[in-house]
């Protein structure tokens, strides 16, 4: 059983590595594996077929490049084609020339529109805008209350529209309010609806005509399967969506819907939701998503995150220590504290390439509380122990366990993790800390 598309790709390419050149035979094998991987990832079967056809054609017509192994050649073609499908650069958010701009948030029930509307408001405010929020979901019980709570949580202004139960009336009133009071973006959270529900789809048409939105964002659940193409195509045909907001990407869903939706609507994915907290919204970078699919890890996002949180001086000190191989348990503790500042651990680990020593790190299944325990254990060590881990013998381990309220076993585990961390930090220090991103594809292929 494969954990994810990334691993599947890697296995495929590992098998191909021994081969000297691309032949019809090994191309067939690779295409079959990629097809299954994409289907497992919930990419629509027609989209998969077209994708595979294009990659196969490229592979067959490929000139023999002595510099690249067949595996590297195929991975390069797959990568190019994925980028071609997802778009080669990040999409821009469109505002209207005469504020307020209106963003219409649409989608199926349960895709995450209300939460995303709140997150978008936060994102807009962080980028210097003044959004006004409006819910026109007059159908689902407590939907408007939900947006009100979400708005309060991100400190955004909500247009309450009390006593009004018609979406169009609400929209007109809120738009007037926004223009009069100087809000530059009106975020309109609409009711979830099935694309086969004619009456409700007509309502969206009317809202569009009335509000003339600069963005119509289709909110789609990353866990969506084959049906993604149908709902997205229907919404797009009726409304002409301007972009996609892909939610719940923090789970283990492979998110093949992203590829499907992009393929049938031609519209870019603009945002991704990566958690339940209201700041867990990120702009979508296709190249990073592709890198992630191919096992190169989302190193760029990680660096950005790291830059947001890492103390630069400390990072420099750390780099120096890594170079001199002086990474101590005290540094390990600092790292843990830094990491906890960056956000939930599973999210950070998900951004790392799933190869080499880092693969084991993910399997270690660290959770937040384990970090707290680890900190406690290191705190129970003496200064000398922290700087010279070699001296920690059985006797000392017992004492540390007692002091931190843990077991010797757990202390051993921390020491083992520390050793792993040393190894890992050494291997990424070139990329992460030095700001140098290796460009040669071969560096990302499994080494064993």
């Amino acid at each position: 059983m494969f954990d994810n598309l990334t691993e599947k790709f890697q296995r495929t390419f590992k098998t191909l590595r021994g081969e000297a050149k691309l032949t019809e035979n090994n191309i067939d094998f690779a295409m079959h594996e990629i097809r299954v991987a994409l289907l497992e990832a919930d990419v629509n079967f027609k989209v998969v077929k077209e994708f595979i056809d294009r990659v196969r054609t490229k592979c067959l017509g490929a000139e023999v490049m002595t510099a690249l192994s067949p595996a590297q050649q195929v991975i390069a073609f797959v990568r190019d084609e994925l980028i071609a499908t997802l778009g080669d650069k990040e999409a821009r958010i469109v505002y209207s020339k005469n504020p307020p701009s209106v963003f219409l948030i649409v989608g199926l029930q349960g895709s995450g529109k209300t939460t995303s509307t709140g997150k978008l408001a936060g994102w807009l405010m962080k980028n210097g805008h003044r959004p006004l929020l409006l819910s026109v979901d007059v159908y689902r019980p407590a939907a408007r209350e939900q947006l009100a709570v979400v708005a309060r949580d991100v400190n955004a202004k909500l247009y309450p529209g009390e006593g009004v139960n018609e979406p169009l009336k609400l929209a007109k009133a809120a738009l007037r309010e926004a223009s009069l009071t100087g809000y530059d973006v009106l975020l309109v959270d609409t009711a979830g609806r099935l694309h086969v529900d004619e009456a409700l789809m007509q309502e969206l048409s009317m809202l569009k005509r009335e509000l003339n939105p600069s963005e119509i964002l289709f909110v789609a659940d990353a866990m969506t399967g084959q049906d993604a193409v149908k709902s997205a195509a229907e919404f797009h045909e009726l409304l002409g969506i301007s972009g996609v907001l892909l939610t719940k990407l923090d789970g283990d869903a492979r998110g093949g819907a992203a590829l499907s939706i992009r393929a049938v609507t031609g519209q870019p994915i603009k945002f991704v939701g990566v958690g339940e907290k209201l700041d867990a919204l990120e702009q979508f970078y296709p190249d990073r998503m592709v890198s992630r699919l191919l096992g190169m890890g989302d190193v760029l996002s990680l660096i950005e995150k790291a830059q947001e949180t890492f103390d630069l001086k400390q990072a420099e000190r750390l780099q120096e220590k890594l170079r001199k191989d002086e990474f101590s348990l005290a540094d390990f503790r600092d790292q843990i504290q830094q990491m906890r500042k960056m956000g939930p651990l599973d999210k950070i680990l998900g951004m790392l390439p799933q190869i080499g020593p880092m693969k084991d790190l993910k399997k270690a299944n660290l959770d937040e509380r384990e970090l707290v325990r680890t900190e406690a254990i290191i705190n129970s060590m003496t200064e000398r122990e922290r700087n010279h881990h070699q001296i920690i013998n059985g006797q000392r381990r017992k004492r540390i366990a007692r002091g931190s309220g843990t077991t010797v076993n757990q202390v051993n585990q921390v020491l083992k993790q520390y050793a792993q961390m040393r190894k890992m930090m050494k291997s990424v220090s070139g990329g992460l800390m030095g700001g140098k991103i290796p460009r040669n594809l071969s560096q990302f292929l499994p080494k064993n």
């Binding site: 299954v36 289907l39 497992e40 990832a41 919930d42 629509n44 079967f45 027609k46 199926l108 029930q109 349960g110 895709s111 995450g112 209300t114 159908y139 689902r140 019980p141 407590a142 939907a143 209350e145 939900q146 009100a148 709570v149 979400v150 949580d153 099935l194 694309h195 086969v196 004619e198 659940d221 866990m223 969506t224 399967g225 084959q226 049906d227 993604a228 193409v229 149908k230 709902s231 195509a233 229907e234 045909e237 719940k248 923090d250 789970g251 283990d252 869903a253 492979r254 093949g256 819907a257 049938v264 339940e276 599973d346 299944n365 959770d367 937040e368 509380r369």
Partner: protein
């Protein structure tokens, strides 16, 4: 013969199958494979028959593994028994699917214990709260006393949403303030239900991704609390799966079964164009029965799962 035929027609009329047909007929099917054609034509089985069949299964979210397993079976049988035409292929694949998917006639089951405790679990946005409203209404209609435990103390306005459904169904909600410990709300609800001799307690839980370790542990804790307070509880743990869910549904079922001990599945939002085929893969791996399907937003839009109708709808 004739009455049986009439029966079948009537059953179809009331089932989600026909509702589904109506719903789908309205929409222009953007990427539709003419699957039905391959079965209606009395033509010999060839590579293209199997290919269209494969597309139909994949398109219904049955997944590549289960699909290739089924196709292999057909290919095997076709060469060994000499299947003559597409109709035979259809009945063969139908039988294979029916072996995997079983419906369990919904209504619970003997309510031997009072209160009968049902915990509803699932990832975010699948329709747990709506399902609870519909389920509570069914029990009320059958003359049972019901309490709903509002243990989703996390999502904004979740309790308010539940209260409106409670009013519609005429059922009391046991709640605490936003952010309270879900297990504490559960404890309250069970205590109140025991005192009032309530027949059924339906427990709403916050939507959670199955990858969130801590949140899954919270479900384990709720199970423990239920077991401690009421003998044999939870008597049912229903996993709600959205019909649009792709292969990730299998992972959801796996993880929720591990932590919460899922006893049955509710497949929601079948009134769209999604077929919900992932439950086939789930049933195949975990052998969990599908109990109900949700086919709309009205309070009576929750109906018992019918395996035959479901399997037929996969080829619509």
């Amino acid at each position: 013969m004739i009455p049986a035929g009439q029966d079948a027609t009537e059953k179809k009329k009331s089932g989600f199958f026909s509702r589904l047909k109506n719903a789908v007929a309205k929409t222009r099917d953007v990427l539709n494979t003419p699957v039905e054609e391959i079965f209606t034509l009395k033509k010999a089985i060839d590579k293209s028959t199997l290919e269209s069949l494969e597309m139909a299964l994949l398109g219904a979210d049955i997944g590549p593994a289960t699909t290739s397993h089924l196709i292999e079976k057909i290919r095997d049988q076709a060469s060994r028994q000499g299947l003559k035409d597409a109709a035979e292929v259809k009945s063969l694949i139908r039988n294979e699917l029916l072996k995997v998917v079983r419906g369990e006639t919904a209504h619970p089951v003997s309510l031997t214990q009072k209160p009968h405790v049902i915990i509803i679990v699932g990832v975010n946005g699948v329709g747990k709260t709506t399902t609870i409203g519909k389920l509570a209404n069914q029990f009320r209609r059958d003359g049972r006393s019901v309490k709903i435990c509002a243990a989703d103390t996390f999502r904004a306005a979740a309790v308010e949403q539940l209260e409106i459904w409670g009013q519609r169904a005429g059922v009391e909600i046991v709640r605490q303030k936003h952010g309270a410990d879900p297990s504490a709300v559960l404890f309250d609800a069970l205590k109140a239900s025991k005192a009032a001799h309530t027949d059924v307690v339906i427990v709403d839980t916050a939507g959670r991704l199955h990858t969130k370790h801590n949140l899954m542990q919270e479900l384990e804790k709720m199970r423990r609390i239920a077991a401690r307070e009421v003998e044999g509880a939870p008597h049912e743990v229903l996993l709600v799966i959205d019909a649009v869910t792709g292969q990730n549904g299998v992972q959801q079922a796996r993880e929720f079964t591990k932590s919460a001990g899922v006893t049955g599945i509710v497949l929601t939002k079948l009134d769209g164009t999604a077929k919900g085929g992932v439950v086939v893969a789930i049933a195949k791996e975990l052998n969990i029965p599908i109990q109900f399907v949700g086919v709309g937003e009205k309070i009576d839009d929750l109906i018992p799962f019918d395996a035959e109708e479901f399997v037929d709808s996969l080829f619509e």
